[in-house]
């Protein structure tokens, strides 16, 4: 039965999953900002 397979419904129902998503998204965006900065520095050196 599909309903018998345990999923993370508790996390979803109490909204905590959004905290997890937000944390991971912030980490990822932070890393991407770092990557962009490195790219800009390399661009500057190339001129």
């Amino acid at each position: 039965m599909a309903q018998d397979v345990e999923m993370a419904d508790v996390m979803r129902s109490n909204g905590k999953i959004y905290v997890v998503v937000a944390v991971i998204a912030i980490l990822f965006i932070g890393l991407m900002i770092y990557l962009i900065r490195i790219d800009k520095k390399v661009q500057k050196l190339e001129e």
């Binding site: 397979v5 999923m7 993370a8 999953i17 959004y18 998503v21 990822f28 965006i29 990557l35 790219d39």
Partner: protein, 220 residues
């Protein structure tokens, strides 16, 4: 801000895959439960590695037809980024295995094939380091790169499908592509793969540009 469109697209697609990957519905399957969402990250790593290694192969072949040293540098950067991504794929796979199969590693053709592939590419870098002469190094490693790519296809694409395997998609197990990967998952998986290929290409490009800067500095 002089940032190429494809880099921004890579960021957007991966960010989307993180958010949608955790929030959108997935098939409810025993043993996997929510870990099926790892498809968007673990499997994506391997797909990206294959594409990066393919790009590296192309640069190696182009080098052999032109002896343009820059192409050899590109091949090296792409292969090293591919190795890094493969390491991420391997470690995420091990974590996933521990929770679903009960062990970090099993004696399985796909897993062993992936490990062997990584060793083969590791040898590419060791080979490069062992040759002093620039032209010889570029030539020999370009040829080795071709062999390495073919071996990769054999070890992770062909052999695992021919025998018993625990890994999805091999040894008679339905792959995620067959019926588990429903259209909901495809909506996240395909953008994720494209996004990570773009990000991987970006990292490889940065590695290449820095190598070029280093060489120019040496020559001046």
């Amino acid at each position: 801000m002089k940032l190429k469109w494809w880099k921004i697209l890579g960021i957007v697609l991966v960010l989307y895959s993180i958010i949608a990957g955790l929030l959108m519905p997935v098939p409810k399957l025993n043993i996997l439960n929510e870990t099926i969402r790892n498809l968007y990250f673990h499997v994506t790593m391997w797909f990206s590695m294959i594409i990066l290694m393919l790009m590296s192969l192309i640069q190696s072949i182009r080098y052999l037809s032109s002896f343009d040293k820059l192409r050899d540098l590109k091949a090296e950067s792409l292969a090293s980024t591919g190795m890094f991504i493969a390491t991420l794929g391997l470690t995420t796979g091990m974590v996933w295995a521990q929770f679903t199969w009960g062990a970090f590693w099993v004696n399985d053709p796909k897993l062993n094939g992936a490990a062997v592939t990584m060793l083969i590419y590791l040898a590419y870098f060791i080979l490069r380091n062992s040759i002093e002469n620039e032209d010889t190094r570029a030539r020999v490693s370009a040829i080795y790169n071709i062999l390495a790519f073919v071996m990769m296809i054999v070890f992770i694409g062909i052999l695992p499908r021919m025998t018993d395997s625990l890994h999805p998609g091999n040894g008679g197990n339905p792959g995620f592509g067959n019926y588990d990967l429903d259209s909901n998952m495809r909506m996240v998986f395909y953008p994720a793969v494209i996004g990570w290929i773009l990000l991987g290409s970006w990292i490889a490009q940065l590695s290449y540009r820095i190598k070029v800067l280093e060489i120019n500095k040496e020559n001046n």
